[in-house]
């Protein structure tokens, strides 16, 4: 399996400026969030970049792509009909091959020498299977993410065979359907905003769209169907994701990037000074 393309969804009408925010990356260079996301993919060997955007956002996004601008193709989602629909809009770009999928409001910091995307791609290639990156997440944050249930495949890597996928489950539903042996109590495998998917996902999305043509189309129900039909894996990446759309999300993402990069000491010093300040 060779992954050449990445599909980034950034068409959430309520968060259309998020990927345009500027942060300082691990090397200490100012970059937009979008650029950091595209470079994550690029670093993993991806050659073609597709970004799904809202109508009218192309110019702004083009300016936020940095050096990769020439390799990026923008795909406009004409009407906001859900996350799954945004992915489905990428079908002409992706064509009939497996692809890396990233979301435009998540940044990733690796805890290993390889980037998060590279770790995932290696697994997908080795296992020759669709695989979603996941991160054990406390149940109090369940309502922000898609989550998977399954069982450990075994072997050296934290790899799971997915049996169920629920979008933003309640803890009740998670406890009933998403218990994963080996995880700490109250933790679930939630999506990392990073997947390697085969082209069959588009057929599944279409199936779900046909079943409920008027409702918003999610990705999780299609992934749930995927799990029922073929081997679909989840992989705990050595790294962390940061949802820059959450309250203080951008701040935490910036801190994580800085503390994992060249300016670690400088930022840490500033933080300590801030902590030492006493406000009467």
């Amino acid at each position: 399996m060779k992954i050449r393309k990445v599909l980034v969804t950034a068409a959430n009408p309520r968060q259309r400026t998020l990927p345009l925010q500027t942060l300082i990356d691990q090397r200490g260079e100012p970059k937009t969030a979008l650029q950091i996301i595209l470079e994550e993919a690029s670093g993993a060997g991806v050659e073609e970049f597709g970004v799904v955007i809202c109508p009218g956002d192309e110019a702004a996004y083009a300016g936020a792509c940095g050096n990769l601008r020439s390799q990026v193709r923008f795909i406009v989602q004409e009407t906001a009909r859900g996350y799954g629909h945004a992915v489905l809009c990428g079908r002409p770009f992706v064509g009939d091959e497996s692809f890396l999928h990233l979301v435009g409001d998540h940044l990733h910091v690796s805890h290993a020498p390889a980037t998060c995307a590279r770790q995932l791609l290696e697994v997908a290639t080795t296992e020759d299977s669709p695989v979603s990156a996941v991160q054990p997440t406390r149940e109090s944050q369940l309502t922000s993410f898609g989550a998977v249930g399954g069982r450990l495949v075994g072997g050296a890597r934290p790899l799971y065979q997915v049996e169920a996928v629920l979008e933003k489950p309640t803890p009740t539903a998670a406890e009933q359907q998403l218990i994963v042996p080996g995880l700490r109590a109250g933790f679930y495998l939630c999506f990392f905003g990073m997947h390697v998917l085969g082209p069959e996902i588009f057929s599944l999305l279409e199936e779900h769209q046909r079943a409920a043509p008027d409702g918003p189309l999610g990705l999780s129900p299609a992934l749930h169907t995927l799990a029922a039909r073929r081997r679909y894996l989840a992989f705990t990446v050595a790294g962390r994701r940061f949802d820059i759309g959450a309250p203080y999300g951008l701040l935490f993402a910036q801190l994580a990037l800085s503390l994992a990069g060249r300016d670690r000491d400088r930022v840490l010093t500033q933080l300590v000074e801030l902590l030492a300040l006493r406000h009467e």
């Binding site: 149940e139 109090s140 309502t143 803890p171 009740t172 539903a173 406890e175 009933q176």
Partner: protein
């Protein structure tokens, strides 16, 4: 020296066929059900004392090493049964012993293992005894139930879908979010009503009565035997409601204030909670069920209790800053005790509406999906545990639609129960659609069935414990009855599917009179059987059957008629029940007048709707309760929500009849009438005047109470008092093998033949403990079936006197002492049932003393709660009790300490003043004079409590007492653990009966070997002499009154706390502690000039029935059969 008594009446076979299973543990461990389901009783038959003691040791070792919960519990029940029933039946078991006080304290504190260790240590050092066996039986029994209850609780907590709520400890961790639809469209503006989410839920009826197989313990151990046919129904009160409807409703709306508002329309109660602690405070108001729902739905999850977190912060996470919610319940005035699981289904509805509101279900409105119903049911179990109540696993059946088969489900790998119990906590529901039970069959059931509430309020808890114990012991008649009850289900299902409602009625009746009463005889009562008999007489073959709903009869019941007479049946049943209630209301506890229901099968289950705009209306009863408060305030002070509520109600009152008709009642509420209060207070005044109430003595008691001169703490003898146990040589042992027994028996027989002996039965009491303060005449309570009929205590005592009269050829004069509460009902009963004997051999001695109860002092309340040893409850119940107590202390403070207690029916405000007065009353009211005029040969009286059923005019005891030369002769029995309240002691060297409340220290009682039965022999002339009177002076009322007053002054006055019930609403009851005073006859033993004698008698003769929970053991250990053998029916 240890005293050996005559054997207990339970049979102990010493010869016969060899034991059925050589290895005791096979009964628990065997894979072969024919061995595993054998009864421990069979195994014990023919075993010697040594073998039985060895068996308890073997079982004890087994239960300590065994990991399987149910095997452990069975071993515990086996040990308890051997100690309770089999060892006491062995004649060579030592009768007397001592219960170590440390072990008793452990028992009270629910440290059962430690208690058992203490008792076993005592058994090793002092030898086995009846006394220690009673303690070991109680401790093992309690440990078995604690183990089972802990397991159910643990399973409830660990059930998938519930566990997360126990981990959540901080508001920021709260993952639930409100559904946006409940915030309402922004464009509606601030004055628009918030959308209202309404859940409507039917109640459930159990069509088969499942032999209580829906008790969690049973379903989890024996899932294949746990099967019920459960029907969701709409309900209406016949003649009151226009049509049946889902009776249970729950409403949810978002508020613009950071609080939780709770309101119960039926209880007319509401509360505004501002802290998390208040949410977990179940006892402070009537809203415990709503609080349990808020917790079990995860809105205020159980894990956050006592975290110190802010409720506003928690609510902000779910609803947004500054917001909260309101939860309102309504059960359409369906009375409590309907046996239709109203409260569990209400809890389910409340949980469901809360879960829907916080995105925990797929759909906001409409029916629930099967997985959602299951999680709501699991949460309802959790809620019941939190609220300290408990139902069966089928009770939340109203969440499901129509008719369904509910069955226990085997635990499989992955279930939290797997490896612990054979079955899962939650059963499996199979909906029986119209293909299984056709529309025609459903219609036929509806055309024939009449549902009623008989009006009785009873506690089903003890019955559920009995069922569990019998199931685990596999006692033979009950076990085969259970198998029959199980088979009935298939028969009923078949008949229902065929539309054979007549056959169904027959099967249900057979189930009630057959298996159910075999398993638990106490499910029936005289009232129920009276109604069945009268309906049978009125309808003949058109009465097709009787059906007991829920745990016991007398409350919710079903009657099945031929369809053409069903309407007539509804009308007649109302009259029949009312007439029977009127006849029996002095004898049985009724909470309300009987009602007849209309019902319809509900085919939808629990359904929600989002009510918006003008339709966002709460039930009319809600506004009746809240609007008067709003109207009393200035308009400018009203919040936006309150203003909107007023507008909504006003609009609805103009256009909707139900709201329009609520207006007059609402106005009445604003101007409450004093008429009823005045009437009640006049009635109480009349009663006091009629019954010789002594106002000056009352004021003295009040002032002494307030000043602390008398009170619970002052009841006790000074700490310096020397309390010692009594040697058996000081007592006469009433046993046939004792020296001189023949002589006494012959002399006693002669006295009986001459008519020298009479009986006095105390019948002034209203069974405070027997019916938990329900205020019925205990003597008239038809407590058990003897010789085929329900018999009352009075019936039994008269039947014994008849037997004595027949045996000795001389009538026995029998007097019942009465009080203002019991005189009228007992007189009516005796005139009707004993027309020939009335005032010939049966007399009444009316009470001449009365007290008015007082609001307790805080000092006494705290003393009772903190200083006296009391049973600790499990964690949740303990919390509930603490919170109830805080509320009661507030009540006492607000009502005024030692103020007159008048806020109840007059009968509940008065109190009898102790049994000391009973005998002097015989002197004062002329009864003794009349008795002696009719029977001048009368020399001796036997005086006893109404609940001492085994006491008789035994010629040996008559002979002993008459020859003793004593004025008073007292009967005591070797103590068992349950015999609390003093005993026979040597007090500063003198032998006397000491009340428990007078002993200087709680532990003193445990050093006393003998317990007082309160049965007392009286030498008439000796007693008169003691009072300074002779037979002729009895005619002089003034002289006798003065003599009684003089003697009364020498006897101590005790202050006691009693619990009284206050009934209100639709079958609701509250229990209040009240202060009263009493003087006790046992204190006559303190009089130095009075010659006394003491005899130790058998338990069968001396035991008293104080609590209805004793009845089952009483029947099983042979006591009932023994009592029956004493009677001439």
């Amino acid at each position: 020296m240890k005293t050996r008594q005559r054997p207990s009446p339970a049979p102990a076979r010493t010869t016969g066929s060899p034991p059925i299973a050589a290895r005791l543990l096979d009964l628990i461990e065997s894979d072969d059900p024919t061995i595993r389901d054998r009864a421990i009783d069979r195994w014990c038959e023919g075993r010697s004392l040594t073998e039985l003691l060895a068996a308890t040791g073997e079982l004890d070792a087994f239960r300590r090493r065994e990991t399987n919960l149910y095997r452990r519990v069975r071993a515990l029940f086996f040990i308890a049964a051997i100690h309770r029933y089999h060892l006491p039946a062995r004649p060579d078991l030592t009768r007397t012993g001592r219960v170590p006080y440390a072990g008793f304290r452990h028992l009270l504190e629910r440290r059962f293992e430690e208690a058992i260790a203490e008792f076993l240590q005592a058994q090793r050092s002092d030898g086995a005894s009846d006394t220690l066996s009673s303690a070991l039986a109680a401790a093992h029994h309690a440990l078995a139930f604690q183990t089972l209850a802990d397991q159910v609780r643990q399973t409830v907590r660990s059930t998938h879908g519930n566990a997360w709520m126990f981990r959540l400890g901080h508001p920021l961790d709260q993952p639930l979010r409100v559904r946006r639809e409940l915030l309402g469209p922004i464009e509606n503006g601030p004055g628009a009503p918030r959308p209202l989410l309404r859940e409507r839920t039917p109640v459930r009826m159990d069509l088969t009565h499942c032999g209580w197989s829906d008790i969690f313990f049973l379903g989890m151990d024996y899932p294949e035997g746990a099967r019920v046919l459960n029907v969701s129904i709409d309900l209406g009160v016949h003649g009151r409601d226009p049509a049946p409807r889902p009776p249970v409703e729950a409403f949810f709306r978002v508020l613009d204030e950071p609080v939780i508002r709770l309101a119960s329309v039926d209880l007319e109660a509401s509360a505004c909670l501002t802290t998390i602690d208040e949410v977990f405070d179940f006892g402070r108001d009537y809203l415990g069920l709503l609080k349990a729902a808020v917790i079990a739905a995860g809105l205020v999850p159980p894990g956050i209790e006592r975290s110190g977190a802010s409720l506003a912060e928690l609510l902000a996470t779910i609803f947004g800053p500054g917001r909260g919610f309101e939860l309102v319940s309504s059960v359409n005035r369906i009375p409590k005790g309907s046996r239709l699981a109203v409260s569990t289904n209400l809890l389910g509805a409340l949980i469901a509406v809360c879960m829907r509101a916080t995105s925990q279900t797929g759909a906001l409105a409409g029916p629930l999906t099967e997985p959602e119903r299951r999680i709501v049911a699991a949460r309802a179990i959790l809620g019941e545990w939190l609220g300290g109540s408990g139902g069966g696993w089928q009770d939340s059946g109203g969440l499901w639609p129509g008719i369904k088969l509910i069955e226990g489900a085997a635990a499989t790998p992955g279930d939290p129960e797997f490896g612990t119990s054979r079955g899962r906590l939650l059963p499996r529901h199979t909906l029986l659609g119209r293909d299984r039970i056709g529309p025609d069959a459903r219609a036929r059931l509806h055309e024939s069935l009449v549902l009623v509430h008989g009006g009785m309020a009873q506690n089903v808890g003890p019955i559920l414990e009995m069922v569990t114990e019998k199931y685990l012991l596999r006692t033979e008649p009950e076990w085969s009855a259970r198998a029959r009850a199980g088979a009935t289900l298939d028969d009923i299902l078949h008949k229902l599917a065929q539309g054979d409602v007549a056959g169904l009625g027959g099967a249900l009746t057979a189930n009630f009179f057959g298996p159910l009463q075999t398993i638990i005889p106490w499910v029936s009562n005289r009232y129920t059987e009276e109604i069945i008999g009268r309906v049978q007489a009125a309808f003949g073959p058109d009465f097709w059957g009787f059906w007991m709903l829920g745990g016991m009869s007398g409350g919710g019941m079903g009657f099945i008629f031929a369809p053409h007479r069903r309407t007539e049946g509804q009308q007649q049943l109302q009259a029949i029940m009312l007439a029977a209630k009127r006849e029996l209301q002095d004898a049985l506890p009724f909470a309300m007048d009987p009602v007849v229901y209309d019902f319809a099968i509900n085919e939808a289950g629990s359904v929600a709707a989002l009510l918006e705009g003008p339709a966002a209306l709460l039930p009319p009863g809600y506004y009746q309760h809240t609007v008067p408060v709003l109207l009393r305030r200035e308009a400018r002070e009203l919040s936006g929500r309150e203003r909107t509520d007023l507008q909504q109600f006003t609009r609805a009152a103009r256009v909707e009849e139900a709201f329009g008709t609520a207006l007059p009642a609402l106005l009445d509420r604003m101007l409450p009438s004093d008429e009823a209060t005045e009437r009640a207070s006049r009635h109480l005044g009349d009663l006091l005047a009629e019954n010789g109430f002594d106002r000056s003595q009352h004021e003295q008691i009040r002032s002494d109470l307030r000043a602390g001169r008398i009170g619970l703490a002052m009841n006790r003898l000074p700490p310096s008092t020397r309390i010692e146990d009594v040697d058996s040589r000081d007592l006469f042992a009433a046993a046939p093998d004792q020296p001189g027994a023949g002589v006494h028996r012959a002399a006693g027989a002669t006295a009986l033949e001459r008519g020298e002996v009479g009986v006095i039965s105390y019948a002034a009491g209203v069974g405070s403990r027997w019916t938990q303060g329900a205020g019925v005449v205990k003597g008239l309570h038809p407590f058990a079936k003897l010789a085929g009929r329900h018999r009352s205590f009075i019936d039994v005592h008269l039947a014994k006197s008849r037997q004595t009269a027949r045996l000795f050829g001389s009538p026995v004069p029998h007097v019942f002492t009465t009080s203002y509460l019991t005189h009228g009902p007992i007189e009516r009963h005796l005139r009707l049932s004993q027309p020939d004997a009335w005032e010939r051999s049966v007399w009444l001695s009316p009470g001449r003393s009365i007290g008015l109860r007082l609001v307790p002092t805080l000092r006494d309340l705290h003393f009772a709660w903190e200083e006296t040893a009391e049973q600790k409850l499990d964690e949740q119940k303990e919390k509930l009790r603490d919170s109830v107590r805080a509320a009661l202390a507030d009540w006492a403070r607000a009502s005024g300490e030692a103020a007159d207690y008048t806020d109840n029916t007059p009968g509940q405000c008065l109190h009898p003043v102790g049994h000391w007065f009973e005998i002097p009353n015989l002197l004062k009211n002329g009864t003794l004079a009349r008795l002696l005029a009719a029977r001048p040969q009368l020399r001796t009286l036997l005086v006893h409590n109404i609940d001492t059923l085994g006491v008789t005019l035994d010629p040996s005891l008559v002979g002993w007492f008459q020859s003793s030369g004593a004025t008073l002769g007292w009967e005591v029995i070797p103590r068992r653990l349950e015999d609390r309240g003093g005993g026979l002691a040597r007090v500063d060297g003198r032998l006397r009966i000491v009340e428990g409340l007078a002993l200087p220290r709680d532990e003193d009682e445990f050093a006393l070997t003998y317990y007082s039965t309160n049965s007392c022999w009286v030498d008439i002339d000796g007693l008169l002499g003691l009072f300074g009177l002779g037979r002729p002076e009895l005619a002089d009322a003034n002289r006798t009154a003065a003599a009684v007053r003089r003697m009364a002054a020498r006897v101590p006055t005790y202050v006691t706390l009693k619990e009284v019930k206050k009934r209100w609403g639709h079958g609701q009851e509250d229990v209040y502690p009240v202060s009263q005073f009493e003087k006790l006859w046992g204190d006559m033993t303190a009089l130095a000039e009075c010659p006394q004698a003491f005899a130790v008698v058998s338990r069968a003769r001396g035991q008293q029935l104080k609590d209805q929970a004793q009845l089952d053991g009483w029947a099983r250990d042979g006591s009932a059969a023994y009592i029956n053998s004493l009677c001439d029916w």
